[in-house]
Amino acid sequence: METVATQKVKQVNENQCQQCMPLGGVVVFKGIENAMVLVHGSQGCSTYMRLTNVEHYNEPVDIASSALNEKQAIYGGEANLHKALDNVIRVYGPKVIGVLTTCLTETMGEDLERLVATYRQNRGITTVDIIPVATPSYSGTQTEGFWAATRQLVAYYAKPAERHNRINVIIPHISPADIREIKRIFELFGLEYTMLPDYSMTLDRPYGGQYQKVPPGGTQTQDIAHMSGARATIQFGLTCPDNLSPGLLLEQEFGVPLHNLPLPFGLQNMDRLVETLEKLSGRSFPECLERERGWLLDGMADSHKFNADGRPIVYGEPELVYAFSGICVENGATPVVIASGTKSHQLTGLLATLLADADVQPEVLEETDFAAIDDAGVLHGANIAIGHSGGKFLTERRGMPLIRVGFPIHDRTGGQRVLSAGYTGTLAFLDRFTNALLETKYESYRELRKEEMGIKEGA
């Protein structure tokens, strides 16, 4: 059976399922060692992005702005950009500054490459790397912004390098807890790696010591420079567009073999990563992972009948949507609606393969909004949702539980600690999913049975 993506026919977007493009870029630069981010546009953009990140990560997330007003919007923002760079360097002393464009500066037609080059020349800057990234939100969402910034970092730093034994690991926007779990798995196989980006410590800082404006941690730039000499790249980016793919750039320019894998969320996806790591390391399955896999299988058996009652809506960024749909499918809870605010050229095809054996095909919505997701959920009898906090309305209006994953999670604490990666993370997610179904069931089954049988009190 073929999975068909439903085209959006209406023009108005009613309750947004996506974030804006520079937001993705911000997160990437927060995962680079000693980096600061500057958003070239009006003041509000940077503040909104700070707010969204702060609410999710519960960490200070400083983002500078060139703070353009109407004068610069007409005559150009060069002076403001230069002043902003001056001030960022003075106060934050970064080694890297990511400069992201906004809808405003893209519409103005600002030539960011030139503006940055002039600045470096005028100020004689040699010790700060200033990396511009084009992120107009009328051409993409936070998903494209994340990939674009990551690819730009590779393009900026990677020079032909001697071959070495490290593995490149390129991730989409996942939680710091997920990053740490993936690092642990690589270490279990004895593999050395460069993780790009790595905000596992910068956006989830342990308390203690003196507060630092730019927190320690993040990918080191000399490691990015050496990614060109790596033995292989593992990129968790099945849905990453080719033109934004950092892994593809490393393969095409420097001949680094690319293993483009699904996120290691779910048994089968994690098995694929393990298989790849076995080959790359020459080591067999570490015993502790074997045990973790066993616990997951045991949990899947214990919960399978409960999970079969699940009719999930899965929504969010394409890479996450694909991974979580996989967990649902392998546990017998086939999604009824799969949706993304992002338009992906790969997602529909990937889902068709994933759902080849499914009894009923889900409705797949791309470039969509929550009004359409809600309609589809009602039509297909959805009873649970998986995604970011935007879906809170599905709980409010339809009473369905929401398993919060992805970004942003602004109405619950601990977004940075949500773990879904590896066998352990998969089981943690699965337990949350199953227990949400059980909670609904135990809360309602007495009343439901009575209603069905027309039993009235005292009758």
Binding site: Q18, L38, Q43, G44, P60, L104, S137, G209, G390
Partner: protein, 459 residues
């Protein structure tokens, strides 16, 4: 050509910002304020669009359509904790979701279609159409589109000219919203609204049901609220605004201009009120009673104040015992809120050592200074580096502010009171004063700070 070198000097303060920071009793000159944010200073401010959006958002049965690329709508979806007694329409976020094609060829047609779609799906009594950076930049004529749509659908389609890059931050957005409100309430030609003895309550957004609290007090003393601007308001109720005999103004930043306009056009006098803190609440009720001047109203007012004060003062005294002598910092959006908080913290026996606002005006800062002890730091348009510096220098125990300040305070081991527009708990009136005191107490005196200090020593 500027060839001056730029280096990190490690100091938190950018020299150009020196005049925006003063110490009461020491600085002779006035504070530099009400200016554009300095590029690269990491201002805590949002934008013009945000200002307009937060003022109008609580109009419950209106549809709010953002004409721009997706981010502006995403970031302001259901942004306030404003409650509604009826329609939930305002909690939806509509966007024209401008794409590259719209930026190049103009977005007017798409805007018109989006309005049509909203009207045919929901038939709202009014639609507010907000311009953003991009729609402003490309020169879409939203006034003409709204006018045509108004005629086509015989409903109010009101343009809000809130392009984000306009100079002057949120305050300019407040004005854009005010103009939109004045347009909405203007009676049709030949029609007039009869004067009543009810009053309007301006600058009240019903956060956590605060409008309802004041409404209950007023009802008890024999006065009815005509409509609030804009908490829990409807389009029909707003259109009755000219019928009030008095306008109360609470949040002056957003509503002072509306009050003046209402006086000019409909001859309605206005007076400032403030329902945050028990002393402010009592004072405001007395002022209102004086305006009506009827002995029965005055008698009931005094009875209400006596009863409530007798009820809450013992509770406040308990908190005062715990909090006396603690050192507090305040950083909020507008001066009205700063004044309200200063007074309440002082009533709790606390010392204010740092205060500031995003959008205060010179007169407001002058007034603020008179409430503060010598040696207090006042900052206009502060940034995280400055806040960090002074929070540490001044040895602050608790801070009041918004979400972005909260995470910084916690990182520094400082308590925090949420006084932002998405808070869920009402802080107005006598019970609100108790709730405020309780929040100050639980955060200032939380046992976690002791644990954190211990952890700091271990490190």
């Amino acid at each position: 050509m500027d060839t001056s070198s730029v280096t990190a000097d490690g100091s938190a303060c950018i020299s150009e910002r020196q005049n925006s920071i003063l110490t009461t009793g020491k600085s002779k000159s006035s504070i530099h304020c009400a200016d554009d944010s300095l590029a690269g200073s990491v201002s805590q401010r949002a934008c013009v669009f945000c200002g307009a959006r937060v003022v109008l958002n609580p109009v419950t049965d209106a549809a709010h359509l953002v004409h721009g690329p997706i981010g502006c709508a995403t970031y302001t979806w259901d942004i306030r904790g404003s409650l509604s007694s009826g329609s939930e329409m305002y909690r939806n976020s509509f966007s024209t979701d401008m794409k590259e094609r719209d930026v190049v060829f103009g977005g007017e047609k798409k805007l018109a279609t989006c309005i049509d779609e909203i009207v045919s799906k929901y038939h709202p009594p009014a639609i507010f159409v907000y311009s953003t950076c991009v729609s402003g930049m490309i020169g879409d004529d939203i006034i003409a589109v709204c006018k045509a749509a108004s005629e086509r659908h015989a409903t109010d389609v009101i343009p809000v000219e809130s392009s984000g890059f306009l100079s002057g931050n949120k305050v300019v957005g407040y004005r854009a919203a005010a103009i939109a409100l004045m347009q909405l309430i203007k009676p049709r030609e030949g029609e007039t609204v009869e004067k009543t003895r009810k009053l309007n309550f301006l600058g009240e957004y019903n956060l956590g049901g605060e409008k309802w609290v004041v409404e209950r007090y007023l009802r008890e003393i024999g006065i009815e609220i005509n409509v609030a601007f804009t908490g829990d308001s409807t389009v029909a109720a707003l259109k009755q605004a000219p019928g009030a005999c008095l306008n109360l103004v609470q949040c002056t930043g957003s509503m002072h201009w509306v009050a003046m306009s209402l006086e000019q056009e409909y001859g309605t006098p206005y007076q400032d009120v403030n329902f945050f803190g028990s002393a402010n609440t009592a004072e405001s009720l007395r002022k209102i009673a004086q305006f009506y001047g009827e002995p029965e109203i005055i008698r009931r007012t005094e009875a209400l104040i006596d009863r409530e004060q007798a009820r809450i003062q013992p509770v406040l005294q308990k908190y005062r015992k715990k909090l006396a002598g603690k050192r507090a910092a305040i950083y909020v959006g507008g001066a009205f809120k700063a004044v309200a908080i200063i007074r309440q913290l002082k009533e709790l026996g606390m010392e204010i050592v740092l205060t500031g606002t995003q959008t205060g005006k010179k007169e407001e800062y002058d007034n603020l200074s008179t409430l503060l002890d010598p040696g207090t730091i006042i900052i206009d348009d502060a940034n995280p580096a400055e806040l960090e510096k002074f929070l540490l220098e001044k040895n602050v125990d608790v801070m009041a502010g918004g979400v972005k300040e909260r995470v910084l305070a916690y990182k520094l081991g400082i308590g925090f009171v949420d006084h932002n527009h998405d808070r869920k708990d009402g802080l107005a009136g006598f019970d609100g004063a108790v709730r405020f005191a309780r929040e100050v107490y639980v955060t200032t005196c939380s046992p976690v700070w002791g644990q954190l200090k211990a952890a700091g020593r271990r490190a």
